[in-house]
Symmetry: C2
Subunit: 343 residues, 2 copies
C-alpha cells in the first residue's frame, strides 16, 4: 500500500487506483483511503498541525497481514518525510476483536498489552467477574473485574504486603480479609504462625485459584481447615463484627481486598467500605498489632494521599509506614501500608 501526499485543502483525486472520500473537518481535513484486502486508512489533519493516520484491517485465519514494527516504522519515516514533519511517532498494531483480550490498563489508565495466549478460566461469581489467563512471560494471571490481581510472577506482591524479613509471624494470630487467591495465606503459613483465619466471600475465586494459581497458593485452598489455619467463606465485615463482640484480638490483620479507589473525593460506597474495614480491623488488633494492606499504584498520588487522610481521621489514632514494590503483572510500582495504633 502506498499513501499519497495529503494536500491541505479540499480536493478530489480522479483516476487513481484507490477510492477517496474527502472533506474539510473544522478547518482541517479528513481522507478515507481504501486499499486491497479491505484495508481502510483514515488520515486526519488538524488545523494545529497534527496529522493522524489510522490503518485498519481484518486478519483472516492464517493471514500474515499484520504489519511488523519495522514496517510500521518504515512507513512512519516515509510519511514524516512526505509531510516534512520533524516529529513522527508510530505505534504497534492494536489487536482487536480476537478471542483473547490482551489489554489491561495501569492504575493511572495507561494502556498495556500483555502477552496473553490462552484463557484458562472465565466465570461470573455473585461478586465479581473472574478471569484467569496465561501470559507467556508472567505465567497464569488472575483478573478480577478487569483488574490485574496476581500472577505466578508476583511473589514480590505478597512479600511486600507481608513485609517479609521485617515482620516476625512465628506464633502469631492473624486474620486475612479477602486474599482469595491464597498466595498470602500460603506465604504466611511458611512463617510458622500460631493460627491464620482467612475471611473470603467468594468461593469461586478460591476454587479457580486452587486450580490455576497453584504455584502461588500451594495446596492451602484444597481444604478450608488445616492444622494452623481456617478459611471462612463469609462477608468479612460480618465476621469482624462478631469478633469485636466476642472481644477477640489478633496480632495482624491483612486487608487484601479492593484497591483504594480513584475518585475526586474520598466519598462513596468503596470509601465507606474502606473506612469500615479500617475501623473494625483496629478494633480486633492487640495493642501492638498491625494492620497491613496494599493501596494503589504509586502513579496515583491523589488516591494514596486520600487514603492517608482517612488513616489520620480514624476513631483510634494511628501511626503508619508505607513501602512500595514494582509488581511484574501490574507493570507498575504498587504501594503498601503498615498501620499501628499510637501507644
Amino acid at each position: 500500500m502506498s499513501l499519497p501526499v495529503v494536500p491541505s485543502g479540499p480536493c478530489y483525486h480522479p483516476g487513481t487506483e484507490h477510492q477517496y472520500e474527502y472533506e474539510l473537518v473544522d478547518g482541517g481535513f479528513f481522507e478515507l483511503l481504501k486499499g486491497d484486502n479491505g484495508i481502510l486508512v483514515c488520515v486526519r489533519g488538524y488545523p494545529e498541525g497534527l496529522v493522524t493516520c489510522n490503518i485498519e484491517y481484518y486478519i483472516k485465519g492464517n493471514d500474515k497481514l499484520v504489519m511488523s514494527l519495522d514496517e510500521i516504522r518504515q512507513l512512519e519515516e516515509e510519511l514524516g518525510e512526505k509531510l516534512s514533519s520533524t516529529r513522527t511517532h508510530a505505534c504497534p498494531a492494536l489487536k482487536r476483536g480476537g478471542e483473547l483480550h490482551k489489554y489491561f490498563p495501569t492504575a493511572d489508565e495507561r494502556l498495556l498489552e500483555y502477552d496473553i495466549d490462552k484463557t484458562l478460566y472465565e466465570e461470573k461469581s455473585p461478586f465479581q467477574k473472574i478471569l484467569i489467563v496465561h501470559s507467556r512471560s508472567l505465567g497464569n494471571l488472575l483478573v478480577l473485574d478487569n483488574l490485574q490481581n496476581i500472577s505466578e510472577s508476583d511473589l514480590i506482591y505478597t512479600e511486600s504486603l507481608m513485609q517479609r524479613g521485617k515482620e516476625n509471624y512465628e506464633g502469631k494470630e492473624i486474620v486475612i480479609l479477602g486474599g482469595g487467591d491464597g498466595a498470602l495465606l500460603w506465604e504466611l503459613l511458611k512463617e510458622k504462625p500460631k493460627f491464620v483465619t482467612m475471611l473470603e466471600i467468594d468461593e469461586l475465586v478460591m476454587k479457580a485459584c486452587g486450580k490455576y494459581l497453584r504455584s502461588c497458593c500451594g495446596d492451602c485452598l484444597d481444604k478450608y481447615k488445616g492444622d494452623n489455619y481456617e478459611i471462612i467463606v463469609e462477608d468479612c465485615v460480618k465476621v469482624l463484627k462478631k469478633y469485636v463482640e466476642e472481644g477477640r484480638k489478633f496480632d495482624y490483620v491483612f486487608g487484601d481486598m479492593t484497591d483504594v479507589p480513584l475518585s475526586s473525593t474520598p466519598q462513596g460506597e468503596v470509601w465507606d467500605f474502606i473506612r469500615l474495614i479500617l475501623d473494625l480491623s483496629l478494633s480486633v488488633l492487640k495493642p501492638q498489632g498491625k494492620y497491613m494492606t496494599h493501596a494503589n499504584g504509586a502513579s496515583c498520588p491523589d488516591a494514596l494521599s486520600m487514603f492517608e487522610q482517612q488513616l489520620n481521621k480514624l476513631r483510634v489514632p494511628v501511626d503508619f509506614t508505607s513501602s512500595h514494590a514494582f509488581i511484574p503483572s501490574f507493570m507498575e510500582d504498587w504501594v503498601f501500608y503498615q498501620v499501628t495504633m499510637k501507644s
Copy 2:
C-alpha cells in the same frame, strides 16, 4: 455524545444532528459520525461480525475532553447492549501528537504506555539517537534508538547481568564492552575488583547518563580514569583486537551492548557483530574466565535459541548458563547468559 445503532445495510440518516457518511465496504459497512468539538467517530463493521469504533479528537490547552476509563467502559457497555454483543472490549485513549512520546514496545512488539512526564535530554550522537525521559514511576529512563535501555528502577538489570551474589569480583580483572550508562561499572566497582576497563564508543551517552542517571552510575563517569578503572572511548572491536595481539587476558568480559536481534535467520550485520564480539571476548578470557551478557526478552524464544546456536558453533567450545529477571523499565522478563570455555 450518543451513538446511534448502526444498521447492517447502506442507508442515509436525514435530519439528525450529526452528519453521516456511509458506504458498504467489502460486504461490511463503514460509517463516519461527526460530533461537537471536532470529534470524529469511525464505525466499521466486518462481515465476520466484528464492529470497531474509533473515537478521535484533539485536546486543546486545558480541555478536559479526554474520556476517562469509566466513561469509555460505560460507552462500551451501551454499545455492547445495542449491538447485542456478548464480547466487547474498550481501550484507554491512545495519546498522540503531544510533546512527549509515551509509547515504547516490548521485545515482542507489544504496546506499552509509560507515565513519562518530561524529556530531559534528546540528542543524536554519531552512533545513535539518545533520549532520556522522566517516568513518574520509574525515574529517569534512557532510551537508545527507540529501545528502553535502563532506568533508575532497574538495579535488578545490572545485578542479573553481573549475577551479584553468585560471582566473586574481588581482585578480578574485568572488561566491559559498551555499558555507556555506567551502571554496570558502578556496581562492579562496589565489589572491589582489581581493575575494570570499559570500552564505550559513544561519549555523548556517558555525558548524558553522568548527568541524568546519577543514581545508576554514581560519579564513575565524571572522569575516565580512577584508582581501579579506566574508560576508553573507542570501538571495542579495535581494542579487543589489540588485546588479543598483546596476549592480555581477563577474568570477566561483559557484553553490555546491543540486544540479540529479532530476525528469521541469524544472518546480517548485527549477527556478524555478535559473533565477532563473542570470538574476540573468548580470546581475551583466562581459561576460567567468564563472558557475561544480556540477550533479549523471554518473550522472544526464537531469538534466544538462535543466540544459543551461535554459542554452540563458536571456534572455542563453550558451556553456558542463563538466567532471567523481570526488568521494571522493560516491563518484561529479560534473559542473561553466562559463558565459559569448556575445560
